[in-house]
């Protein structure tokens, strides 16, 4: 069983965000990055499927040179190889363009399962995997909590709203978007980190993937990025020690009347 896992590198969850001069994105210079949360669970799901069924796990990331660090992290955790999709032509992709690029790379490498996280923590479109499935002509399932191979197909448990779940059976190859928290993440061991140094990371650009400008042209444009306007009047209580605590308790008792 061959599994490709898509890992997006995103700014660390507690980054201080500043808007760039053109107000179209954030200033990405001084940021530190990490693997998108649900993607880390997708990687773990892939590693566990490989341990159970045998096969290969390939870690794929699309982005500038810095995204190699998420590929290396995945290799250290146990992925077998890396695919790094990098090209200046990939700098301004929308979800469709990102999916088209990932789909082209996945197709050229071949796979039984293509896993993504359910959504990115930065742009949060929650689309890339599903679009890739359509472009590849493959079936998909989203918000997956569990994957069980069944004959030549797979049975997945999907999270639905309001506490409901549902099992869905589908043929392979297929594309699955993975929900956070479905397994326990492993961390890279020293041995894993050493072993990762010998593992291959293959670089692919637009020409290698046969992608033209028309396919990559964004179908949606970010006009501006800004801090949301505050609509609610929050009473901010100054300080962090005993005095602030006393003020809060007084307000909860006498103003909000909750005690």
């Amino acid at each position: 069983m061959k599994i490709i896992v898509c890992l997006k590198q995103v700014p660390k969850n507690d980054s201080i965000l500043r808007i760039n001069d053109a107000a179209t994105w954030i200033q990405d210079r001084d940021l530190t990055y990490e693997i998108n949360e649900s993607d880390a669970y997708a990687l773990e799901a892939a590693l566990q499927l490989k341990e159970k069924n045998g096969g290969e796990v390939v870690a794929l990331s699309l982005g500038p040179a810095r995204v190699q660090s998420v590929i290396k992290e995945a290799l250290a955790r146990g992925a077998d190889r890396g695919l790094h999709l990098e090209d200046a032509a990939f700098d301004n992709l929308d979800a469709f363009g990102a999916a088209a690029t990932i789909a082209a790379a996945a197709k050229s490498d071949g796979f039984d399962l293509l896993l993504t996280g359910l959504q990115s923590d930065d742009h949060g479109y929650a689309q890339t995997g599903v679009i890739a499935a359509e472009l590849l002509g493959l079936p998909h399932a989203t918000i997956v909590m569990d994957l069980q191979t069944e004959g030549s197909g797979i049975k997945v448990k999907r999270e639905l709203e309001a506490g409901f779940f549902q099992w869905v059976t589908l043929p392979l190859p297929g594309v699955f978007t993975i929900q956070s928290g479905i397994n326990t993440l492993r961390y890279a061991t020293l041995k894993g980190i050493m072993a990762a140094k010998k593992k291959e990371i293959k670089k692919l650009d637009a020409a290698a993937l046969g992608l033209d400008a028309a396919t990559l042209a964004p179908k949606q444009q970010i006009k501006r990025v800004y801090f949301p306007q505050k609509s609610k009047q929050t009473q901010m209580i100054e300080g962090t020690g005993a005095a602030a605590a006393a003020t809060l308790v007084e307000k909860l008792k006498n103003e909000a009347r909750v005690f």
Partner: protein
């Protein structure tokens, strides 16, 4: 020429998802401003009574699309049928509520037509005669105004709660059946019945006071300071999803779209950023207090009282103060 706004109506077990009416309301507002006709479409097998219900809203038309292969929702069935509806109706804009079901099929549908889906928007504005859609990025820390470009139809989904479904104008729409070519072999997903896991051991919906903890707590052993605060207050403990994902607290303490929905007298959120999936589970609380070291955290947007600071200082001070009050 493409024309009009088409709204997707979702339903499960004979009930229309209330979020679909929020999308209808969005269509009424945008339609009035851009002078566009509005219609809704409902897929299934035996949905005429649901169509009649939707037809009670101010819309020009309600389309029904019925097939054995649409008896239960599948992304293949819905996208194949929806694509044919779009070819027949030729809308300029397709609006949907950003539900789990829409997340599951709408990107596929849009991609099958080589179009973009501007997903999970919270509002719109009209600029130069065209709609611009506002989305949250970085889990609500920033907003982005986004325009779909290129040929219509454009696809947009709205986050739950972005519009008031109960403010839909009433009307009398014409119901029209459309036929599509869809056969069982085209549907590759075989869904089983929906189910719930064993009933939650704790029912937080009845708790008057809730102290909820998020990832700001850093480590499992630190949960202790939250337990002390909750004990002093006589409150129940709840948590954001990552805390339960890590098994630091049991699953049945999770608040949010995939956890419990609560409306206590007091919800004290400690080290929780305020992602929309958490907010939907607690925004009905009468009084909301947020303790967070980041003054820009979205949780402050819905809090009545806020303390910007390190929870490891604020929480013990608050516990001491409450113990003092209770004496």
């Amino acid at each position: 020429m493409a024309n009009g706004i088409l709204v997707f109506i979702e339903h499960v077990e004979g009930q229309i998802n209330r979020a679909s009416y929020e999308a209808v309301r969005a269509a009424q507002l945008i339609g009035a401003q851009l002078n566009q006709e509005t219609a809704a479409v409902i897929f299934g097998n035996g949905v005429s009574n649901l169509a009649t219900e939707v037809a009670g809203k101010k819309l020009n038309r309600v389309y029904t699309v019925e097939s054995d292969s649409l008896s239960s929702y599948t992304p293949d069935g819905y996208s194949i049928a929806f694509k044919q509806v779009i070819e027949q109706v030729q809308p300029a804009l397709v609006l949907m509520a950003h539900t789990y079901e829409v997340r599951d099929f709408a990107p596929k549908l849009a991609a099958s037509l080589q179009r973009a889906l501007v997903g999970d928007c919270i509002g719109y504005k009209i600029e130069d005669g065209a709609a611009v859609f506002t989305r949250q990025i970085f889990q609500g820390k920033l907003s982005a105004d986004v325009v779909p470009t290129g040929d219509t139809p454009h696809f947009v989904s709205f986050q739950i709660g972005s519009f008031r479904g109960d403010e839909c104008e009433a009307g009398q729409a014409e119901v029209q059946a459309l036929t599509v070519n869809l056969n069982a072999e085209q549907v590759r997903q075989q869904p089983e019945a929906r189910f719930k896991e064993a009933k939650a051991a704790v029912d937080l919906t009845q708790a008057p006071l809730i102290v909820a903890v998020g990832r700001g707590i850093k480590e499992q052993k630190n949960i202790e300071i939250i337990e002390k605060l909750a004990a002093a207050m006589g409150a129940e403990i709840a948590a954001s999803r990552p805390i339960c994902d890590n098994d630091w607290l049991p699953m049945d303490r999770q608040i949010g779209s995939s956890g419990q929905t609560v409306a206590p007298k007091l919800y004290l959120a400690v080290g929780i950023s305020g992602a929309i999936q958490h907010l939907v589970g607690m925004k009905g609380a009468r009084t909301i207090v947020a303790i967070n070291k980041d003054a820009e955290a979205p949780i402050f947007e819905i809090a009545d009282y806020g303390i910007v600071g390190d929870l490891f200082e604020v929480v013990p001070a608050l516990t001491a103060e409450i113990e003092k009050m209770k004496q």
